[in-house]
Amino acid sequence: MIALLILLLAAGQVAPLDSGVPALAPPPAPPGAVRAFDTPNDAGKSINVRWSAADKLAETWLVERTEPDSVKVIASNKPGEMSYLDEDVRDGIPYAYRVAAVTAADTVWSEPSPAVTSSPQFFNLSRINILIAMAIFFVLVIYYIETAKKGKNLFVRRIAGLDAVEEAVGRATEMGKPIVYVPGLGSVADIATIASLNILGEVAKKTAQYDSALLVPNRDPIVYTVAREIVKESYTKAGRPDAFKPDSVFFVTSEQFAFAAAVDGLMVREKPATNFFLGMFWAESLVLAETGAQTGAIQIAGTDSVFQLPFFITACDYTLIGEELYAASAYLSREPLLLGSLKGQDYGKMVILLTLVIGSALLLLSRLPALGFFSHVLGFFSTR
């Protein structure tokens, strides 16, 4: 209503009500390029309205929506905001939008935009980059698992910590002292625990051959049962089923620090030649590594917990860092499933590195005038 009154005043050149009003400012130009489109990649029921300011005079923008049975002003925006997301619309109904530039004296409406209907989309185009990345990686992992299954020999490089295993078991036999192998505090579902149990099998084979004592304290009841099976199997495979002592693999307790204290007591009493700490560890890693270092044993540790690795690296002689632990179990067990997925991940990393290098080169080249379009490379990697 007020808008109408102002219009009359301006149009009718009626003397202004109060003479204090300065000469009427020129009416603002109508907003240009009013565009309304269905919001892409969404669940429908939302329309995007965009417009541009023809001049700087407008103090607020009024957005009006016309639908088959009603006309309503649905928003008033500050000068800077030249877009509006209309989310109380129903799919399939045509809507038209008009935008007005409003100043103290005038309200000037733009041309109505062509009718538009909102609708949900079935595929979110902005996530195409994630789909491509997933596809590449899945192909790599599955391909290498299949080749591994066909028995093709897949090379895995030697890992520093593993050379020490041979030497460590030999040293234990010379000194006639036991080896303590802690398969971590994790459960069977943790990748690090599975990797550690695979390595335990190989270490057990060696202790069988060299006939040196092996002690395996456990914190998780299920890991304990699996570990005992693995050691028993390794002793039979090494042709020394009689040498296997069932109580050499034992369950201690499930409480974290009680377990650490018990293993410390074991290490101080038995004075082992070599300690293995391979698997999932938490804050108690410090307690184990420190006491082990005190007893003078060679210590080989390995975990994928980034928080505990610093303590193992400084307190132990050899440390398998994160993925080296998984690679070690694949290397030792030669199990096709582990080898295949390890190779898949390796080449997945290479794809990432290659993309990073090529992408960076293109982006840097995009500074040259002719190759400006390369800058879209960065856009391709944006995520919404």
């Binding site: 980034v306 928080f307 995520t383 919404r384």
Partner: protein, 280 residues
Amino acid sequence: MKFFEYLLKIDRRIIYIVMGVLVIIPLVKPLGLGVSSGPRAKTLFDAVDSIPAGKTLLLSVDFDPSSMPELYPMLAALMRHAFAKDVKVLLCGLWVTGAGLADKAVTEIPPEYGKKYGDDVVYLGWKAGIDAVILGMGENIRNVFPTDYYGHPLESLAMMQSVQRLRDIPMAVAISAGTPGYTDWLNFAQSRYGLKLGAGVTAVSAADAYPYLQTGQLTGLLAGMKGGAEYEVLIQKNEYSKAYMPAVAAMDSQSLAHVVILLLVIIGNVAYFATRKRGA
């Protein structure tokens, strides 16, 4: 060399006593070493400061009592900052053991600024199912939290009328001691709903947050007790709060403790290499 051998054989309980005494002294008699202010804390402070009055700051309490000394001062400082700016505060949590801490903050801090529960501050409580909770809140907060922690239906709370889902919230700060924590808010809220996200973390997980700061996914970071102390100093300097600053008081002990650890490592290595060269 006898001396070094003796050094190596020291009983660890002596080290414990030395450590304990050196940490307690500054608490009882502060040394006044002061607190330096880092850029990360300032970025978060400026972001929270720019929230218009009447809008809502979301604080996710994702830590438990064992990380209270590092993270509770941050929660308190952020709430004081918001209340001083008449910004409403909405709390929720992904850790079951964090529920009690959020409740403690909601009962103790609002009265300092005369803020009323329901109008200026609401605590939604804790819910299991990490990504389910965040994504649920993105679509509609009522799906995940039909009632708040105290059992009031959300419709009955004045403040909740203007807050239906994450898009209505300009900024959130995830105060997390690990997982679930700020990485989940990154995965499921920041990128999906474009929510501006700050983080308050324990010192141990601070180093891992840097990549997310560099990509701009995180707007500012408070790291450990030092981060809490920095924020406390910032809100005090801007007269947003005159309350006691626990984190700042503890920084002197922290400094001394670090020096002790470094000296122990140095002495230990000197003794180790001295005996090893002779003994090798």
